[in-house]
């Protein structure tokens, strides 16, 4: 599909926000993603493959927002796209986060975002607020330093509480976001139920799985994997399934219940 760039701005550091208008209107749920390739580089094979990006937000006027960090060739090329440039994309792809919690599920909602993993979490927080207005929604956001904490103000407006952590201690708790989560969970009774939504580097997810293992907690993890196609063709985006075999992140995910994933890879 084609979309046109409405704006593509550096927010701070190496973080950018891309707003595109798709040629046809799009509906999506939080946690779904797009495979993106700037049309101007179609004839150039460097980078060759499209890149996966979470849908950051759907604006009321039908635009799609992507929050991204420039880390390599694909994101560098994306950052060079100007207004009115055309973008090729596939999507929305993947399952997204479940936001209608089953009747029985009680307790708090804990949202954990590591680094650019925050990209889909603002939309998720909004969606959960709408579907479960009665619940407490606590957002944990972590980054290397203050510049890596995005969307903090927006999150504060909608979440019950936002707990920040930086590795250099420049903002919030000094340490990993998982330590913040651990500290928070320790304060509560271990019988209390909770649902954890998390997005970030796989080591972060692995750590969360370890932390919540003894507790009464549901987990929904959005996993990262190198992707070539995003739609189940290449079988490249495999992650280990607990008990043997593999999931494809693009097709079976990117959101998985934490206990179904074997993080020993």
């Amino acid at each position: 599909m084609r979309a046109r760039v409405i704006s593509n701005l550096c927010i701070k550091g190496s973080y950018y926000k891309l707003t595109i208008k798709p040629s046809t209107s799009i509906r999506a749920i939080a946690g779904q993603f797009l495979m993106i390739r700037p049309a101007a580089y179609q004839a150039f094979y460097e980078p060759l493959l499209p890149r996966p990006f979470s849908i950051h937000r759907l604006s009321p006027d039908g635009n799609l927002e992507i929050l991204y960090k420039v880390v390599g060739k694909g994101t560098a090329i994306l950052a060079r796209c100007g207004n009115n440039d055309e973008i090729d994309f596939l999507g929305p792809l993947g399952n997204g986060f479940p936001v209608r919690l089953t009747k029985g599920s009680s307790g708090e909602i804990l949202i954990v975002a590591g680094g650019i993993g925050v990209a889909p979490m603002l939309y998720l927080t909004e969606s959960l607020r709408a579907s479960c207005p009665e619940k407490r929604v606590i957002v944990f956001e972590g980054g290397r330093e203050t510049v890596d904490l995005l969307c903090v103000e927006e999150l504060k407006k909608i979440a019950t509480e936002v707990i920040l952590a930086t590795q250099d201690g420049s903002t919030g708790i000094k340490g990993y976001v998982t330590e913040a989560l651990e500290w928070y969970l320790h304060k509560r009774s271990s019988e209390m139920q909770a649902t954890v939504y998390a997005c970030g580097p796989n080591p972060m997810l692995k750590r969360i799985a370890e932390i919540v293992y003894p507790l009464n907690v549901d987990t929904y993890f959005s996993l990262e994997a190198t992707m070539a196609c995003g739609i189940g063709l290449c079988m490249g985006c495999a992650v280990k399934r607990k008990g043997g075999g593999y999931f494809l992140v693009c097709k079976d995910g990117p959101v998985f219940r934490g206990e179904t994933i074997d993080f020993d890879f």
């Binding site: 004839a43 060759l48 994997a225 290449c234 495999a238 890879f265």
Partner: protein
């Protein structure tokens, strides 16, 4: 409209643009993006006797104008495939070529045999060139006698058209093509991926869990075109060409070098509808030059 139809290995194709094995799954996922009624044929992801899970991740990484993969041939096994995947493919008015592999020569024969009489299967592509697994792969495709035994066994095991998929990781590909012809293969397809490796300079680990993988995409096109041209001039057997085909021009290059049909692989990951765009592009290319059939291009390079 110029005539794009072609018969290869006794299979009548609406047009000469195929989906390459391992880049279009068993058809389900790509069907949402690419009208399977329009492609010449789909070559399905490799199938073996028994289900296999594939290699651990990471399975792919990007390289300059190419990619490495070590997917490791995950497959659902012959039985499930025939029961659950062929019925889906039968809904489309296209040709289905089933890519097969085995751990032993006999297993190749057995897998091939399982498709005899299966409605909806029009031909077999025999992968003797996968660089990513110990069994069923490159060990057969880089040894002339092993190639001969596989081709002979598969030929005896089926009445379906037999296409042998050759490895580019050989000193001279011509004798391999000759063996295929001698042993009664109906066509060959080439090339499978080049064996490659990439190392992460931060972690010092190979970028693929399998250490080495297969290089595909535009980067390998010059090697593929060269090999096609060599075989076309030396062996009288139809060729399905592949290796980096991403545009109409790339496809034309392969026809000029001597292929009777082309398959689109890695490019499906960039754009799952690209095969349709190439089909349309080929029609226009011929029309603009007043050429009435795709056959006018085959091997027509001016030396």
């Amino acid at each position: 409209m110029p005539d794009l139809s072609i018969e290869i290995a006794g299979i009548k194709l609406r047009n000469p643009v195929l989906l390459a094995s391992g880049t279009a799954g068993y058809g389900e996922d790509i069907a949402r993006y690419c009208d399977l009624n329009r492609v010449g044929a789909i070559i399905t992801k490799g199938i073996a006797l028994k289900p296999t899970p594939g290699n651990p991740p990471p399975r792919i990484c990007e390289t300059p104008a190419g990619m490495l993969n070590a997917i490791g041939l995950p497959n659902v096994g012959v039985d499930t495939f025939i029961k659950e995947n062929i019925p889906f493919l039968k809904k489309f008015d296209t040709r289905v070529i089933v890519n097969i592999f085995g751990a032993t020569v006999d297993e190749y024969g057995e897998v091939a045999g399982s498709f005899t009489g299966v409605e909806g299967v029009h031909g077999l592509e025999v992968n003797i060139s996968c660089p990513n697994i110990k069994e069923g792969g490159i060990a057969f495709g880089t040894d002339l006698e092993a190639t001969r035994r596989v081709v002979r066994t598969v030929r005896r095991s089926t009445t379906l058209p037999v296409i042998i998929k050759l490895s580019p990781n050989v000193t001279d590909i011509i004798p391999f093509a000759m063996v295929c012809k001698d042993e009664g293969a109906d066509a060959i397809s080439m090339i499978n991926t080049l064996l490659g490796m990439s190392i992460d300079t931060e972690t010092w680990k190979p970028r693929l869990a399998n250490i080495t993988g297969g290089l595909s995409g535009p980067a390998i096109k010059p090697v593929a075109v060269r090999m096609v041209w060599q075989v076309y001039n030396a062996v009288d057997i139809p060729i399905i060409g592949m290796g980096g085909i991403t545009t109409t021009g790339d496809a034309v290059e392969f026809f000029l070098a001597g292929t009777s049909a082309v398959a689109v692989g890695t490019a499906n990951f960039l754009n799952p509808n690209v095969s349709i765009e190439i089909i349309d592009g080929l029609g226009r290319y011929l029309e603009e030059r007043g050429i009435d059939s795709i056959r006018g291009l085959i091997g027509a390079v001016k030396i």
